[in-house]
Amino acid sequence: MLSTLLSAVAFGVVLASIIAIAAMGFTIQFGLTNVLNLSYGGVMTIGGYVAYLAVAHGISAWYGLVLGAAAGAVATLVIGHGLLRRFAARGTKVFEMMMVTLGLGLVIDYTLQAISHNNISQFTVLQSAPLHLGPVTLTPTQVIITAVGLAIFIGLEALLRLTRIGKALRAMASDPSLARACGIKTSRIVVFTWLLSGALCGLAGVVYIINAQSIGYTTGELFLPLVIAAAILGGAGSPSGAILAALLMGIVTQVFSAYGNASYSTAAGFGILVIVLLTRPSAVLSKGENEELALS
C-alpha cells in the first residue's frame, strides 16, 4: 500500500518535471510581456515533432532534445517578434492578444494535423533496464527527465539572479518603462525572452513525448491545461512558483490515477486551480487587467 503511494509520488515528480519545464518557459514570457500565450501547446508539439523526426532518422535522442529546443525557440521568436509585435503596434490589448494567440494555436495544430496526416506515431527511445530505488521502480529515462527539470530550474534561477541580462529581465518584468529609462535595451530583452521561453517550450515537448512514447498533433494541446494551471497558480513570472505548482499538480495527478479513476487524473490536477479560485481568488489577481503589453 505504501509502495503504491511512493510509486505514485515518484511518477508525480517525473510528471511535475515535465510540467515545470513548460510552465517555467510559459511564466517567464508571461511575466515579462504580459501575453497569455495560448499558442504554447502548439509550439510544444512542434518541438516534439522535430525531435521525433530526428530520432526517426537515426539521430541520437540527446541531439533530439537540442533540436526540439531550437525549433521551439525559432517558432516562438517568429510568433512573438514577427507577429504579435505587429498586433501590439496596431493597438491590440492584453485580452485581445490572448485571443490572437488562440487563433494562432489553431493554425499551428491543424497545420501539424495536415502534415502528419492525422496519425499518432509510436516510438521508443533510451530504453534500458529499470532502476529500483527502494520500493519505487523508475526507468532511466524518467530519472534523466527529472534531472533535466531540476537542472533547468537551477540554471534559470542563476540566470535571473546572477547575470546582467537576468537582472535586466527582472527589472523589465516589474516596470518596462522605468527599465527603458534606466538604459536597458528592452527590445533585446524581449527577443531574449521569446527565445528562452520558446527553447523551454520545445524542450518540454521533446521530454513529454519521450515519456509518453507517442506523438500526435494534439499532444501539446492536451498537456497545456496542466502547464497553464501551474503557471497561473505559481504566479506570473516566478520560476520557483511554477516549480511548486507543478510538483503539486504532478503528484496529485499521479496519486489520483493510482487510487481513483485514471480518466479524471488531468481534471484532478486542474481541480487544484479550481479550488484555489474558489477559496483564494486573490491568488490569481496578481496583476491588473489594464496592464500594458511589453513587446518591444
Binding site: 485571443m99 490572437v100 487563433g103 494562432l104 492536451l222 480518466s263 481568488p281
Partner: protein, 340 residues
C-alpha cells in the same frame, strides 16, 4: 427526393443550430463580456442528454454502447432536458470560472475546461461510450410517417422556428434594462457595481442562459444527425462561432446572424464543391487553418466586426441635463441606450 433538396434542408438545420450558438455566445461575450471558450461543451452536454434520453436505457453488459441517463422519453422532453442540462452545467462551471479575474485568465480557464471535458468523455467509456460516441439516436416523431422530403423540411422549419424564437427572446432580453445592465457591466465593471448592479449575479445569469441555449442547440442537432461523439465537439468548434461573431460584429444580433450565414454555412460548405485534393482529411485540416487565419485577420483589421455595435451614449443630450448621474451612466456604457 433530390440530393439538392436534402442538402439545402440540412444546411437550414445547421443554420438554425449555429444561430442558436451565435445568439448564446453573443449574449455571453458580446453583452456580458464572458469569454466562453468552452461553449461547445454545453452544446455537447445537451446533445448527449438528448441522445441518451431518446435512445432508451442501455441494457447492461451486452449493450453495444454504454451511457448514463438512458430513458425512452417522448419527443419534446429530451430537448427540454438538454436545455436544463446545459443550464445546470453552466451553473457548475460558472461557479469557478466567473470569479473576478483578468479576462485573459478567464478565457484560458474556460479553454482548459473544454480540453479536459473532451479528455474525460473520451477516457471514461461508461459515461457516454467514449470516443465511439452514441449512435442510432431515433428521429423524433418518426411515428407520424412523413416521407423523407417532408420530414427533412419539417425538421428544417422546426429548427428555424426554435432558432428565431430564441433569437427574438434573447434580443428582447438584451434590449431590456437587464441587457443594459449587462453592457454596463461589460464596459465599466467598477462603475456598474457602484450604481448598485450585482455583478456576480448578472454574469452568472447571462452564463446560465447561454448554457441553456447551448444545451438546446445540441439537442436539436443530435436529434437530426442521430449520432454524437467527442470528434464532433473538439475545442476548435467554439472558434467557428466566435469567428462568425467577430466577422459579423459583437453585441449585435443581426451582425451575428450574418456572420453565422457567412462562416459556418457558406465558408465551411464551399469545400464540399471543390475537387478532392491530397489525402482524405486534408481539406478538413485546411478548413481549420483558414478559420484560425480568418480569426486572426478579423482581430487585426476589424476588431469591432463588419456591423459594429451602435454606441449609445446620451451625454449632453438636450433632454437630459448633464449631471453626475448621466456621466456615470455614460461611463457605464450607455444605460439609456438601446440595442439593435
Amino acid at each position: 427526393m433530390s440530393a439538392w433538396s436534402f442538402y439545402i434542408s440540412t444546411l437550414v438545420v445547421y443554420f438554425g443550430v449555429d444561430l442558436l450558438s451565435g445568439v448564446a455566445l453573443n449574449l455571453q461575450y458580446g453583452y456580458a463580456g464572458v469569454v466562453n471558450l468552452a461553449f461547445i461543451v454545453f452544446q455537447a452536454f445537451g446533445a448527449y442528454i438528448a441522445a441518451a434520453t431518446t435512445l432508451g436505457p442501455d441494457t447492461g453488459a451486452g449493450a453495444f454502447q454504454k451511457y448514463i441517463f438512458g430513458a425512452h422519453l417522448p419527443f419534446p422532453l429530451p430537448l427540454i432536458l438538454a436545455t436544463l442540462g446545459g443550464a445546470a452545467l453552466a451553473g457548475v462551471v460558472g461557479l469557478f470560472s466567473l470569479r473576478r479575474m483578468r479576462r485573459d485568465y478567464q478565457g484560458a480557464i474556460l479553454l482548459i475546461v473544454s480540453l479536459i471535458a473532451a479528455e474525460i468523455v473520451t477516457a471514461d467509456v461508461p459515461m457516454f461510450n467514449g470516443s465511439n460516441g452514441l449512435t442510432g439516436v431515433p428521429k423524433p416523431l418518426a411515428s407520424l410517417g412523413l416521407g423523407l422530403q417532408a420530414y427533412q423540411w419539417s425538421y428544417a422549419v422546426w429548427s428555424l422556428v426554435i432558432a428565431f424564437a430564441v433569437y427574438a427572446g434573447v434580443r428582447w432580453l438584451s434590449r431590456s434594462p437587464w441587457g443594459a445592465a449587462l453592457r454596463a457591466m461589460r464596459d465599466q465593471e467598477v462603475a456598474a457595481g457602484a450604481i448598485g448592479l450585482n455583478i456576480t449575479v448578472l454574469r452568472m445569469q447571462a452564463f446560465v442562459i447561454g448554457g441553456a441555449i447551448g444545451g438546446l442547440s445540441g439537442g436539436l442537432l443530435v436529434q437530426y444527425i442521430g449520432a454524437w461523439s467527442p470528434g464532433a465537439w473538439g475545442y476548435a468548434e467554439t472558434f467557428v462561432i466566435f469567428t462568425a461573431m467577430f466577422v459579423g460584429g459583437l453585441g449585435n444580433y443581426r451582425g451575428v446572424a450574418l456572420g453565422i450565414l457567412l462562416v459556418p454555412i457558406i465558408f465551411l460548405e464551399i469545400p464540399q464543391f471543390l475537387p478532392q485534393i491530397g489525402y482524405p482529411g486534408l481539406i478538413d485540416s485546411l478548413e481549420w487553418i483558414l478559420i484560425g487565419v480568418l480569426w486572426m485577420l478579423s482581430l487585426y483589421f476589424r476588431p469591432q466586426g463588419l456591423v459594429p455595435e451602435r454606441k449609445n451614449i446620451a451625454v449632453g443630450s438636450p433632454l437630459i441635463p448633464m449631471g453626475e448621474g448621466t456621466r456615470l451612466a455614460s461611463l457605464a456604457g450607455g444605460i439609456t441606450g438601446r440595442a439593435r
